[in-house]
């Protein structure tokens, strides 16, 4: 495999298209070993069966690598940049850091998938100029061809069994915009309109009452209250002074969203870890942390931020 680290860009973000365990090991293990040989910190975040393949392939060197179960830590794609990738990269200040991040696997649902693509697209903006290499494996045998097409758009380089190809389709902003899909609300969703006149407490209590009725645990209800407080506060401060809270049950989840007339202009909002001394900027980060999935739509009708909690 060509060692991508020899190129000039500071941030490197190749996709690896693999077919079967053998190609997976061939595409990842030498990448990890090259990093270790260069003295780079190496982290691997992937589904558990993939972690096992890499661990076995590394043998005794596995002890030098940080392994993360992406199906848990990265179940919400919106949390992968702050909670997995930057958490690892920021913990190792000096010199290049090398990461394998596999955020998309067969079994990601159609509800999760747009958030996965947006995450992959935003990695480029989040790490521009940083001495970081993030290799993203894609199961070319198990994923739809449309998923691979999207990976060509979100990665400047694609590696497969034939070698390394600069992507002629690389266009992260365009693909992120394409997956900025309007979010429909099912009939029967409970709805609460709030404005700036001090209704945040009632909005929160409304959500918690419905969340309890739909089966959330006590700790989940506490997270629900926090997330609703952050989103409704954002609407009052930045989203035309108020908005609409909706909550319903869907496919084993409690789904809650806040819609307002504002427009989200910072695509990395909620994905930047904040230094401990920074006074603000943690509201959306909190929502990304506590939720099992976050979906966002922003456009002319305003902004909707929708989060899922598994019952």
């Amino acid at each position: 495999m060509t060692d991508a680290v020899t190129t000039r860009e500071a941030f490197l973000h190749p996709a690896l298209f693999y077919r079967g365990p053998q190609q997976y090991v061939a595409g990842t293990v030498p990448f990890v070993l090259a990093g270790l040989a260069a003295g780079e910190p190496v982290g691997v975040a992937a589904p558990p069966d993939r972690l096992a393949l890499i661990r076995d392939g590394l043998g005794p060197h596995a002890d030098e690598v940080c392994f993360v179960d992406m199906t848990r830590a990265g179940r919400n794609p919106g949390w992968i940049i702050p909670g997995v990738l930057r958490r690892f990269a920021d913990a190792h200040g000096e010199g290049r850091v090398r990461i394998i991040g596999e955020p998309i696997w067969p079994g990601r649902t159609t509800v999760e998938y747009p958030a996965c693509v947006q995450h992959e697209a935003l990695i480029n903006a989040a790490f521009t100029g940083r001495e970081v290499t993030i290799l993203c494996p894609y199961d070319a045998a198990g994923l739809d061809s449309g998923v691979l097409d999207d990976a060509w758009a979100t990665h400047p380089v694609v590696i497969d069994e034939y070698g390394e190809t600069p992507s002629p389709a690389y266009s992260p902003e365009a693909v992120a915009a394409r997956y900025n899909e309007p979010l429909t609300v099912p009939p029967g969703a409970a709805e609460f309109a709030f404005d700036s006149s001090g209704q945040l407490s009632r909005a929160r209590e409304f959500a918690v009452r419905h969340g309890a009725r739909m089966g959330l645990s006590v700790p989940q209800l506490e997270d629900l209250a926090l997330a609703v407080a952050e989103l409704t506060t954002n609407s009052v401060l930045h989203g035309a002074g108020g908005g609409t809270l909706r909550i319903w049950a869907e496919g084993g989840h409690v789904v809650c969203e806040v819609h307002d007339a504002g427009r989200l202009i910072d695509p990395l909002a909620g994905r930047r870890p904040q230094a401990p001394s920074r006074p603000g900027g943690r509201g959306l980060l909190l929502v990304n942390h506590v939720a099992d999935l976050v979906r966002v739509h922003t456009g002319d009708p305003g902004t909707t931020i929708r989060f899922y909690l598994a019952v």
């Binding site: 001090g198 407490s201 209250a225 506060t233 009052v236 904040q274 401990p276 006074p279 980060l285 909190l286």
Partner: protein, 117 residues
């Protein structure tokens, strides 16, 4: 220095969250009643400001009647704690679950704030 912590309270519009802060009778600190949200942020910050200027160590916050605190409220608490002088620290008594949750997420292992159940 004798800083007296007067009775602080928000004068909320209808439906709004309330927040009151009362000095503790027997030790340096405050008892806070209500909830910390956008609507009560001003009172919360004033209470923290007066608290951190009190003498005697450690400082205490009795929070068993605090029903809720948002992320910005916890951030204010952390910021206030960082301004404490060497050797001073803050004990928060019976905080709402959101306070410990937000501390664990954003300031794990933060010194200066001791949580007493």
């Amino acid at each position: 220095m004798d800083v007296s912590l007067g009775e602080l309270s928000a004068a909320p519009p209808r439906d709004a969250a309330r927040l009151e802060a009362h000095p503790l009778p027997a030790r340096p600190g405050v008892r806070v009643v209500g909830e910390v949200t956008l609507d009560t942020r001003r009172v919360w910050r004033e209470a923290l400001g007066l608290l951190t200027r009190q003498e005697g160590a450690p400082l205490h916050m009795e929070l068993s009647e605090l029903a809720f605190i948002d992320v910005a409220g916890v951030t204010d608490l952390v910021t206030a704690t960082r301004s404490l002088s060497e050797g001073q620290h803050l004990v928060v008594h019976r905080p709402p679950p959101q306070l410990t949750r937000v501390l664990d997420i954003f300031w794990p292992g933060t010194g200066g704030i001791e949580v007493a159940p």
